[in-house]
Subunit: 278 residues, 2 copies
Amino acid sequence: MKCRFEEYLKSLISENYVVEEAMNYSLLARSKRLRPHLLLTVLEDLDIDGSEGFACAGAIEMIHTYSLIHDDLPAFDNDDYRRGKLTNHKMYNEQIAILAGDALLTLAFETIAKSSYSAEIKVKLISYLASYAGKDGMIKGQQFDMDYENQQVSIQQLSEMETLKTGKLLALPLICALVIARREEYIETFNKIGLKLGLAFQIQDDILDVISSFQQLGKKTQSDEYNKKSTFISLLGLKEAQETFKSIYSEIYAIFDQLDYCFKETRNLIASMEKRNW
Amino acid sequence: MKCRFEEYLKSLISENYVVEEAMNYSLLARSKRLRPHLLLTVLEDLDIDGSEGFACAGAIEMIHTYSLIHDDLPAFDNDDYRRGKLTNHKMYNEQIAILAGDALLTLAFETIAKSSYSAEIKVKLISYLASYAGKDGMIKGQQFDMDYENQQVSIQQLSEMETLKTGKLLALPLICALVIARREEYIETFNKIGLKLGLAFQIQDDILDVISSFQQLGKKTQSDEYNKKSTFISLLGLKEAQETFKSIYSEIYAIFDQLDYCFKETRNLIASMEKRNW
């Protein structure tokens, strides 16, 4: 299924000019495809063929990729490497990177609008994508991330920021799968799981940032310390950060245990993320 | 109707944090609202209340505004003034300007998805918005615009670039009005009108850029000459540029004359643009 999804992604953008090339450069870069994987796994648990999720999973991956391209720009993190290769603006230039990001964001909505879902489902998916990625979701998290540079913030502020910046885009594929499967009764629960997962993911990133090397992550480590940002490590220390991480995971497992339907593969996937070293 | 639309625009974004403030700063700046006006006027010709067009007209104005914010950035035109006041990144900073643009683009799709149109009409509108503003439309024009900096281009290249960069976003409101009114038999014709209008608009901009002053335009004039870009004036000279402009307008009027329905107000609006000095 992962190979088929990768082939699907490759089929989306024909490279007629440089912005399209730059879109593919970042979209098709080596990636765990975590968000698509989450979406396809929820569908699997609901006995729905993963190919029915491709259009929406592709759209979410485009939004994730656009956010990385813009976030790497000199005006933001000014990163040189991403996913083990040069960032988009380093490979091309700032103009092209900004346009490639804009074009991926736009294509995300176009991909859903032109997919084979019913009109009602398309509209719901587009609503969720826009509201989770937009000014009340991921973008708000990015703004907070900027605000918190070079200043001491509370653990609550940092948690809220990461929940918006990362959690929203991890909750999104879970929710979208439920929309596609017409099992919307689980949306509220999976929204909670996704947001907690995002927070755990970021704490884990901070932990890995401290203990990993360039070779393992494929990007510069300890860049947050370099940028003088507050992190879960700088606020809590390594040991308490690790405990907080485990406690959030316990909450996630407890939510799964209370569900009246067994989302076994989804739970397994999320559990496997607890052990990640990437 | 224009006042009511302006009130509608003001009601869309509550200013809870700085990116939302920056979105409104540019979206609510003094503007002729040309694209919304085109959409509402086609609806008027089809005896449909303009308020039915507000959501889509607002979405198109958001896309237009996002494109201006990103186009003004230091990586692009590096402009200091827009619509008679400081550009977004000069008023705030580059990070906020990039995010405000991203957020307006996202909100455009969300606004249509959450509007009161039928699901089928929402999907059609979103498809047109994305394809006309995206990598095969406006963004492609922006890329060509970058490519053509500091080099001599042909009149065909310049025309294609302006048709994409400006024409697509002038055809869009005409087409969307026909979708909302369920009069899609006119889409092909109005697409042609819109693209020609965009080309005429840019030739006119070049003419005005040469003959106008800062006070009339509210932005720096002759910036294209400063940037060493090819313009219709530099390629054709003032007199031939004016003749080309008139000839495109004749083509537009001829298309209106061949229509089996009288789009009187739309024709009047487009005719009034022929005389503009802004």
